[in-house]
């Protein structure tokens, strides 16, 4: 792959209800922060990729409603509907196509303005599944139960992820839900859909994020701290839950392998210093880390329990607080990439981990981890 780097990043604080802002206001803020971070102006952006979901925005082709706010007016702009990691791959492809030197990728989400359960229910097949009322939480719970039973992952081990991530969020000024929790408090929180309890779940929130990609030579001119895209991979499993092995995560295994191969990574346990995970539910930390090869299948619970995924330990996972503390849908994946870039630059602030040279950003699309996307980022070209 031709060298491409992230040269600027920006994110809004994620909040439960940004009642003072429309989604275009959040996009304007994130875009301007990314431009300021890169030391660029909007006229230096050659093309734009926006990431949004019409159902959540309550508007068809909602991407067209933000072209004033992201400066795509009068520019080549295209849209991805899906997690930010997937949208960013689209932006990466547009950068690699050779037509553009700089690409702005921006995502927005206002979870506060609609009803999460009704909208996530609408992702299911209207003939065979939707009328049963299944939603994001119930489908994740089907998977959590099967995975945890198969490998003996305990609810307490999952609760530890909640404690860790909500604690990490206290060091991240952009995070929505930062709090001191105990395993007991997580265990006592309201059971929603067995085995998923309220504090095993991400919150609903509003936010936007943006990053700027640039081709190799241009990137070096823009910034002294380009963060290089070393490898990407994505893979999609079957749409219907009954056609998938829910206790496995084959799509993630394939996505990670693609990204590792492209990045020349042989042993992720030795070569990756930090992971920003799409961990919308607690069982997903052990599960996804297994899929990425950071431990053997079924050993993820022990990995979490060992404390190795804590900030300051061997493999910090979601040092930002992850999706468990802030999950503006679609934006969340882009934030994973942004957080990895900040960590590599040494600009993550209070939640900065030591010696991050190579990081993995992860995104998920679809119910119960239907599709996965992995980005490997590094500080050296």
């Amino acid at each position: 792959m031709q060298p491409v780097a992230i040269v600027g990043v920006g994110q809004t604080k994620v909040e439960a209800n940004k009642i003072r802002e429309r989604f275009e206001d959040m996009v304007f803020e994130a875009t301007n922060k990314a431009l300021a971070d890169a030391g660029m102006t909007i006229d230096q952006i050659d093309n734009v990729t926006t990431i949004s979901n019409d159902f959540w925005d309550g508007r068809t082709i909602s991407s067209m409603a933000i072209n004033d706010a992201c400066g795509s007016y009068d520019k080549n702009v295209s849209t991805a509907e899906g997690d930010g990691t997937f949208g960013a791959i689209y932006g990466l492809m547009r950068t690699l196509a050779g037509t553009f030197e700089t690409t702005l990728v921006v995502a927005h989400h206002k979870g506060s303005e609609s009803v999460m359960r009704l909208i996530t229910n609408a992702m299911f097949d209207p003939i065979f599944e939707r009328s049963m009322g299944i939603d994001a939480i119930a489908s994740a719970a089907l998977q959590a139960g099967s995975y945890m039973r198969k490998y003996g992952i305990s609810e307490e081990q999952c609760a530890m992820v909640s404690v860790k991530n909500h604690g990490n969020a206290k060091k991240n000024p952009y995070a929505q839900l930062a709090m001191d929790l105990t395993v007991e408090e997580v265990m006592r929180s309201e059971m929603l859909s067995d085995p998923i309890k309220k504090l095993d779940c991400c919150p609903i929130g509003d936010g936007a994020a943006a990053l700027i990609l640039a081709t190799g030579e241009r990137a070096k001119k823009i910034t002294e701290k380009p963060v290089w895209v070393k490898g990407v991979g994505y893979c999609c499993d079957s749409y219907h839950l009954g056609y998938r092995d829910l206790a496995g995560c084959d799509a993630l295994v394939a996505a990670a392998k693609q990204a590792y191969t492209m990045a020349g990574i042989v042993d992720p346990r030795k070569e990756i210093d930090l992971v920003e995970l799409h961990d919308a539910f607690t069982y997903q930390e052990p599960f996804w880390l297994e899929g990425m090869g950071f431990c053997e299948r079924g050993e993820g619970g022990k990995l979490t329990e060992s404390g190795k995924t804590a900030l300051g330990s061997e493999l910090p996972v979601s040092a930002s607080g992850g999706c468990l503390s802030s999950n503006p849908v679609l934006v969340a994946g882009l934030v994973r990439i942004i957080e990895c870039a900040l960590q590599i630059r040494g600009d993550a602030g209070e939640h900065q981990a030591d010696g991050v040279k190579t990081a993995l950003a992860h995104g998920v699309n679809g119910p119960a981890g239907q599709s996965h996307c992995c980005w490997i980022l590094g500080g050296e070209a």
Binding site: V115, I127, F128, I134, D135, Q143, M191, H240, Y243
Partner: protein, 157 residues
């Protein structure tokens, strides 16, 4: 310096999008739903190449990328794989009062699972491998909820 933005009262408008849809079940889905309605029978499709039997029926086999035109009668009993007990009510979505369960069920004869509801169970009985039977609605309309839910099978089979 006072900024007018600090003073402004945020003004929130309520609305909703109402769009009626008509979704065709397609030829394959239509055959399936009408058999459920008229004869209380479950049918799956078989891939001519890998012989995998799909339920709910697939028009084409995603593995072999060939058309599945052969029908195979399945069930009515099945075996539970994944399950979760739903405890948080959402009356706008749910057809049963909480707690009820969602399950991925493999009907006898099928190689794939499908999502349905579980009810009339003891919580302690829910387990992977549980044998389940369908409870049909009296009034059937050609809908997946012509089966109201599955429950633990009464007769051992």
């Amino acid at each position: 310096m006072a900024d007018w933005r600090d003073e402004v009262e945020p003004w929130v408008l309520e609305s909703r999008i109402k769009v009626p849809y008509t979704w065709t079940a397609g030829e394959t889905g239509s055959h399936y739903l009408l058999e459920l309605k008229d004869n209380k029978k479950f049918w799956g499709t078989r891939c001519p190449q890998c012989k995998r039997i799909y339920h709910v029926p697939k028009r084409n086999c995603p593995e072999c990328f060939t058309e599945c035109t052969e029908w195979v009668e399945l069930g009515p009993l099945g075996t539970l794989r994944d399950y979760t007990i739903m405890r948080k009510a959402e009356p706008r979505l749910h057809t049963l009062p909480v707690p009820f369960a969602y399950g991925v069920i493999f009907l006898d004869g099928s190689d794939t699972g499908f999502l349905h509801l579980l009810y009339e169970y003891e919580e302690a009985d829910l387990a992977e491998g549980l044998r389940v039977e369908p409870v049909f609605a009296e009034e059937r309309t050609g809908h997946i909820l012509d089966v109201k839910y599955f429950r633990p099978a009464k007769a051992v089979s």
